[in-house]
């Protein structure tokens, strides 16, 4: 069984269900990517994993432990880190303070982790005294990922990390995410840039109206003619 498993999730924000029995899983040292058309419930599925959505049915387990009814804060304490799509940095605080806030729950010395983050994102070290709100979009995403990494998570969830950044910056971000994976962290992300994301993915999920439409390794999905035609634009 994988490290983080979501099984047969059903639920929504009241009213009709958005998730209709979707299942996801990701293991440590693995990248899983959720793709799919607008309104497919990609971000909602991620919110469900984080505990920000009330589930009617289904379960979420982390390392074999049932966390279905755990609050988002407690899940963060359990090692799930989340990078929201927007508003994902403390704009009025310096880069370094952003990272410190990421380590808020930690009682040990986190300077080593901070060095690792600076190693991963050298530009952040240069700009560490600058307010995160003054950085470019790509750099801000790096701060956001860095902040999440400060918790020393076992699972890193990213909601469209490359939304609104240039193709070059996107490639660089994906490179960094591969680095994160190599540290033995389970990475789960929702992506609009489906083809590029599936390229680095170990596992891909194509979600349509809240259910799994296609599942497979990144390469399999990229090679699948139906997936190519309907979701990847040819």
């Amino acid at each position: 069984m994988s490290y983080l498993v979501a099984d047969q999730l059903r639920g929504g924000y009241g009213g009709a269900d958005i998730l209709n029995g979707c299942s996801l899983s990701v293991d440590k040292g693995e990248i899983a990517v959720i793709v799919g058309p607008n309104g497919a419930g990609k971000s909602t599925a991620m919110k469900a994993l984080l505990g920000m959505l009330k589930l009617r049915e289904g379960s979420v387990t982390l390392g074999g432990q049932d966390i279905t009814h755990m609050s988002p804060q407690d899940r963060v304490g359990q090692g799930i880190a989340f990078v929201p799509q927007t508003h994902n940095v403390f704009g009025g605080m310096t880069v370094e303070e952003n990272l410190e806030m990421g380590a808020f729950l930690r009682t040990d010395n986190f300077s080593e982790t901070m060095e690792q983050v600076y190693e991963l994102f050298p530009i952040l070290k240069q700009k560490r005294r600058q307010n995160a709100g003054e950085l470019s979009g790509g750099q801000r995403q790096q701060v956001a990922v860095g902040r999440a990494m400060m918790t020393q998570p076992s699972v890193l969830m990213l909601d469209e990390p490359t939304a609104g950044v240039s193709p070059i910056v996107m490639d660089e971000l994906f490179d960094r995410i591969l680095e994160v994976k190599k540290q033995g962290i389970a990475v789960l992300m929702v992506e609009q840039n489906a083809a590029q994301a599936l390229n680095i993915a170990d596992k891909g999920y194509v979600l349509v109206t809240g259910t799994n439409k296609h599942t497979g390794s990144g390469d399999e999905l990229l090679a699948n003619p139906v997936v190519r035609r309907t979701f990847l634009g040819g």
Binding site: Q73, V76, G77, F90, M93, M101, L105, T151
Partner: protein
């Protein structure tokens, strides 16, 4: 050209009636505005009960001061009220936390809109107002003791030989000293400590703060403690400098809000600067400059009127005008607070 001594006299006159009073009034407003700006930045509503919380804290300080005076405890040349201040702060903290638990928390869990919070705080304002009047009455209370002046106008005149006197009240020096200490301590807390940074993070981006594991209840709890302490300190200093009257404290709400907004609401440094901007504007436009110009202008040009822009009765209009102008021209204030 006026003689050198006349220029000196004019400067002394100006200092005595404008500069020194405006500095101490500005420090009092700054402390009050800091409380307002912190509630706005962290709890996200305009706290109309702040002026009355000042009055409540000061009431507690006055009662304890009277108690101390009755059993003969004094603070030497300093006012006894300073000894009573910690007790007053405790009282204000207790009332703030009680209101939070019984009133604000209900709306916070419901995620109510800011405008509802404003109305709720108005209700809390009326309640606090009534509590204060029940305890101490609506009248004027003086509770200043200890040395009143550092130097009196007469002493200054004898010392310098000028015909204008300059008074320096001990409360004015105290106000400035305590305000500087409070502001420095607050800024250190917000910039350097883990809890302070967590509060800034919570104010900056609440959702992300929650995702980082920052405990919202603790942030709210500490905010009320700081705000109540600031309000009581500001109220006590104002009361020592002038006098305590519940209605006056309620009226202070306008200049304090104006100060917070001019500086940029949500920005602590803005609240401090805003406090001084409002205080100076109020004092400068309501001062009668007749004598000042008599020193500086030749006799033929001597002003016949009082040379007062606005009567002191209209001093609140000054903060109001500044408030409106700032909201029209630069809604985020001097230090780019949140736009409201």
């Amino acid at each position: 050209m006026p003689e050198f001594v006349d220029i000196l006299n004019a400067i002394v006159l100006f200092s005595n009636f404008v500069l020194v009073p405006a500095i101490s009034y500005g420090a009092q407003l700054a402390l009050g505005a800091l409380g307002i700006t912190m509630v706005y930045g962290i709890l996200r509503f305009s706290n109309f009960a702040h002026g009355d919380m000042m009055a409540f804290g000061t009431t507690m300080v006055i009662l304890v001061t009277w108690g101390f005076q009755a059993i003969g405890i004094g603070f030497g040349p300093l006012p006894t009220a300073l000894l009573a201040l910690p007790f007053g702060i405790l009282g204000a903290v207790a009332l703030s936390l009680a209101f939070d638990k019984t009133v604000y928390k209900f709306y916070r869990t419901k995620n109510s809109a800011p405008v509802i919070f404003v109305i709720v705080s108005t209700g809390v304002m009326f309640m606090t107002n009534a509590i204060v009047r029940f305890i101490i009455g609506p009248g004027d209370q003086r509770f200043m003791d200890g040395t009143k002046f550092i130097f009196r106008p007469r002493e200054f005149k004898e010392f310098t030989g000028l015909s204008e006197g300059l008074a320096l009240k001990s409360t004015q020096v105290l106000t400035l000293t305590i305000a500087i200490i409070c502001v420095a301590a607050l800024f250190y807390f917000l910039q350097k400590t883990r809890t302070g940074k967590a509060m800034r993070a919570f104010s900056d981006n609440k959702d992300l703060a929650l995702l980082s594991g920052i405990n919202p209840d603790r942030v709210v709890f500490i905010t009320w403690i700081i705000v109540a302490a600031l309000a009581t300190t500001a109220g006590t200093l104002y009361g020592l400098d002038k006098s305590f009257k519940p209605f006056t404290y309620f009226m202070l709400l306008l200049p304090m809000f104006a100060a917070a907004i001019v500086g940029g609401i949500g920005s602590p440094i803005g609240a401090v600067v805003g406090g001084f901007v409002i205080a100076f504007s109020e004092v400068i436009v309501t001062y009668a400059y007749k004598k000042f110009f008599m020193y500086l202008l030749p006799e033929s040009l001597e002003p016949t009127g009082l040379m007062q822009f606005l009567s002191t009765d209209y001093k609140f209009a000054v903060s109001f005008i500044i408030l409106v102008v700032v909201l029209l021209i630069r809604p985020t204030g001097i230090f780019k607070g949140q736009s409201i």
